[in-house]
């Protein structure tokens, strides 16, 4: 007997409803909500103790990190752990996502011809199932007050690099005000990009932390990238007051000194205030001031760059305020501002030549075009969270970056401006001290002024969007 299409549809709807109800019940009835499980396992605490919602740190987690991954309760030295304890965490995301990029130049073909005969501007949309890279976190203490963190990280194809490698001397002379870190590490950004609650290509990073003006060749001021250097950091007993000062190689975290002998500094200070029922509010500032090369010495031709021999250092800076505001137990707002400025040399396309970011070499006798100016910009990001419970968090973000001065006079004042909107929620169906799992859902929309091809169009603004759903898990 054949079923009619109507009754089949009804059956499919019925089955679909049952599946949805089952999924809902399964998620809703899961017993409890969940960080770096290696730390959670060590101390017997749930992820929620240190994370607003995994992986974003809360105040207690920030203090734990500032103490060198120690709770300061004499259970910190590894001697207290079972000999079988291995402080390793694997983290990966399996997902489905859809990316839609506007204004892509696409070749066109005439019938019967195999070579392109023209170009057109099209929107390219790609969707499908995918993976993130793998993060292999290992960290903790080597001994009381000697900490380490090692993070080999891969891209989705499995090619590994060292994202973080650092050792830290904690509480020197018995004072929490003196801690020294050496290696490759995340800059002391209070709103950490390495612990984001968002995962899409554009929403998973803070645009503010990576902004480079159009045509600018300076990659070295990206405060969101882990950097190689040494950091002095200190904080009060309860972490209300904290500061850090880092000396960094201007190489954007690239090992083997491929660039030159330039250095940058990254400085932060912040103060938190107890505001009773509202919670603990924190305000602070950061500043990155540095130099990076524009002259690339060569051997055997214009492209035979001598590693580590770049000179002609020019300056750049990034500075701003950070605010972490809490409105009771469920709502908070994270705010970061930035004013950035690059030397006019960078703005005119000098800078990271060996990676192809810059296009020009500041060789002897080079002069800047008349009227060249230092490009500068201002930006702000707002990231509100609604924490229903440690197991369910809703995230929003608005970022905008506006050029305040283009390097070349006459350039449209809005060229390269960015606006980005992100909405997401993460649901942790269980929360234990052993593993983490989040069902992650996110939408991001990013708009940039003037960076698309024109081909006679009145607007060259580019809009890109991405939607994803996936399982973010670690153990």
């Amino acid at each position: 007997m054949r079923l009619s299409s109507h009754s089949r549809l009804r059956d499919v709807s019925y089955f679909g409803s049952l599946v949805l109800i089952a999924v809902f019940v399964m998620l809703a009835c899961s017993p409890r909500a969940n960080a770096l499980p290696a730390f959670a396992r060590k101390y017997g605490l749930r992820c929620s103790a240190c994370h607003e919602s995994w992986p974003m740190l809360n105040y207690f987690g920030q203090k734990f990190k500032d103490n060198g991954y120690q709770l300061m309760n004499d259970r910190d030295a590894p001697i207290w752990q079972s000999p079988g304890y291995w402080p390793v965490t694997f983290r990966m995301v399996s997902m489905w996502h859809r990316v839609s990029t506007g204004k892509v130049l696409v070749d066109t073909y005439s019938p019967g011809l195999t070579d392109p005969t023209g170009v057109a501007i099209q929107r390219i949309t790609t969707s499908g199932f995918d993976l993130s890279g793998l993060d292999l976190h290992t960290g903790g203490t080597l001994d009381k007050n000697i900490s380490f963190f090692l993070l080999p990280s891969s891209d989705p194809a499995g090619s590994f690099h060292f994202e973080t490698v650092m050792a830290r001397l904690d509480n020197l002379f018995g004072s929490p005000w003196l801690n020294i870190k050496l290696g490759k590490f995340e800059l002391d950004n209070l709103l950490s990009e390495k612990r984001p609650l968002t995962l899409t290509g554009n929403g998973g990073i803070y645009q503010l932390y990576h902004f480079i003006p159009v045509g600018d060749g300076n990659i070295f001021g990206q405060i969101g990238d882990n950097q190689l250097g040494a950091e002095l950091m200190g904080h009060s007993w309860n972490d209300r007051t904290r500061y850090s000062a880092a000396l960094l190689s201007s190489n954007d975290g690239t090992t083997q000194l491929p660039y030159g002998n330039a250095y940058s500094g990254f400085f932060t200070a912040s103060q938190a205030f107890d505001t009773g029922k509202a919670g603990v509010q924190r305000i602070g500032f950061y500043a990155m001031i540095g130099q990076a090369p524009t002259t690339w010495r060569t051997s055997g031709g214009a492209t035979g760059f001598l590693p580590g021999a770049a000179i002609g250092n020019k300056s750049f800076s990034r500075e701003g305020f950070v605010g972490q505001f809490y409105f009771g137990q469920h709502v908070d707002l994270q705010v970061v501002t930035q004013h950035g400025q690059d030397s006019a040399w960078f703005g005119q396309g000098y800078g990271d030549l060996i990676d192809g970011v810059a296009t020009l070499n500041n060789t002897t006798g080079t002069v800047l075009p008349a009227g060249s100016r230092s490009p500068s910009w201002n930006g702000v990001l707002f990231e509100p969270h609604y924490i229903y419970s440690p197991q369910l968090i809703f995230i929003g973000r608005y970022e905008t970056i506006r050029m305040s001065q283009q390097s070349t006079p006459g350039t449209p004042s809005n060229l390269g401006n960015i606006s980005s909107y992100t909405l997401a929620f993460r649901y942790n169906p269980f929360m234990t001290s052993r593993a983490g799992f989040a069902w992650h859902n996110e939408y991001n929309w990013l708009h940039q002024d003037g960076t698309g091809p024109s081909l006679g169009l009145t607007s060259t603004n580019v809009n890109t969007s991405e939607v994803m759903t996936g399982f973010d898990f670690d153990f």
Binding site: L45, L71, M72, N73, P390
Partner: protein, 289 residues
């Protein structure tokens, strides 16, 4: 006849069950019982804590060890030692009040921020004062003791006298007289003859405090804290109160002597070294150390 007896017994057992089963007991505290105590408050300075307001924080930070019902049976219970406190018993180590009495709200408030060294209890110093006061109220709501009893009156601690070599020697005599060495060892290394036999009130093995390994004393590391510890005792552990055995002046002497056993540098330690002070001799006749 037999059938009538059976019916009678069944009725009787049924009636007993109906009356007995709903009776509250500490061992079988339910969420229902706890809900009824949700109005519990704490008072610390000018802050009033409300149990209800701490529900989310307790779940976020505390439940993994202390359990949903505050019975110390959270998911980490099997792996940690010392075991988490069973709040339902209403028995606390760190108090300013005499042994056997409930602690003050301030005692619990201070314990939260200080943490408990040599245990898995961290320092929750990042909380706001309001959060801590709320959590104190939450802790109180687990035990019926708080509805039936008032906290004890904090003991009086006289001003700390000047430390002298004589006082340190006198402290050593007190250490010998009240037999601290039986658990803590003559050098304070927690290896006295009774150390291996110690258990807490629930019968679980417990270690004596080792003065020499550098850990902070559980209930605070100032001289006043140490004074308070042996005058109030650590309830729930074998550490008794010596309030009836040691006079206040002698208690300060003992504090000074205990400082000489600790690994941290102190003026007491320097004085003891200058004196050439020897450890107590367990076999010496009373008063002849």
């Amino acid at each position: 006849m037999q059938r009538n007896n059976l019916r009678k017994w069944s009725l009787l057992l049924g009636a007993v069950a109906i009356v007995a089963l709903p009776m509250p007991s500490w061992a079988q505290l339910t969420k229902y019982d706890l809900e009824s105590r949700m109005g519990v408050e704490s008072h610390v300075g000018n802050i009033t804590g409300h149990a209800k307001a701490a529900k989310a924080d307790y779940r976020r930070y505390c439940v993994v060890c202390h359990g949903e019902l505050g019975d110390g049976n959270g998911e980490s219970f099997p792996w940690i030692d010392p075991k988490p406190r069973d709040f339902q018993l209403g028995v606390f180590k760190c108090r300013s009040t005499p042994t056997g009495t409930l602690p003050t709200d301030q005692d619990l408030f201070d314990t939260l921020a200080r943490g408990l060294d040599r245990s898995n209890m961290p320092q929750w110093s990042t909380f706001t004062k309001q959060q801590r006061a709320d959590l104190v109220a939450w802790v109180k709501h687990f035990s019926p003791r708080w509805t039936n009893e008032k906290p004890g009156t904090p003991i009086t601690i006289p001003p700390e006298p000047e430390v002298t070599p004589e006082r340190i020697k006198a402290g050593r005599d007190v250490f010998a007289r009240v037999q601290c060495w039986k658990c803590h060892g003559v050098l304070g290394q927690a290896n006295g003859p009774s150390a291996a036999t110690l258990t807490d009130d629930l019968g679980r093995p417990i270690a004596a405090y080792n003065f020499t390994e550098g850990a902070r004393p559980k209930c605070g590391d100032t001289d006043r804290d140490i004074y308070r510890i042996f005058m109030t005792g650590l309830d729930g552990t074998p550490m008794p109160s010596f309030a009836d055995n040691i006079k206040p002046d002698e208690a300060w002497d003992l504090v000074f002597y205990l400082r000489t056993l600790m690994s941290q540098n102190s003026k007491e330690k320097a004085m003891a070294k200058q004196l050439g002070l020897k450890p107590v001799d367990p076999n010496a006749p009373a008063g002849q150390q």
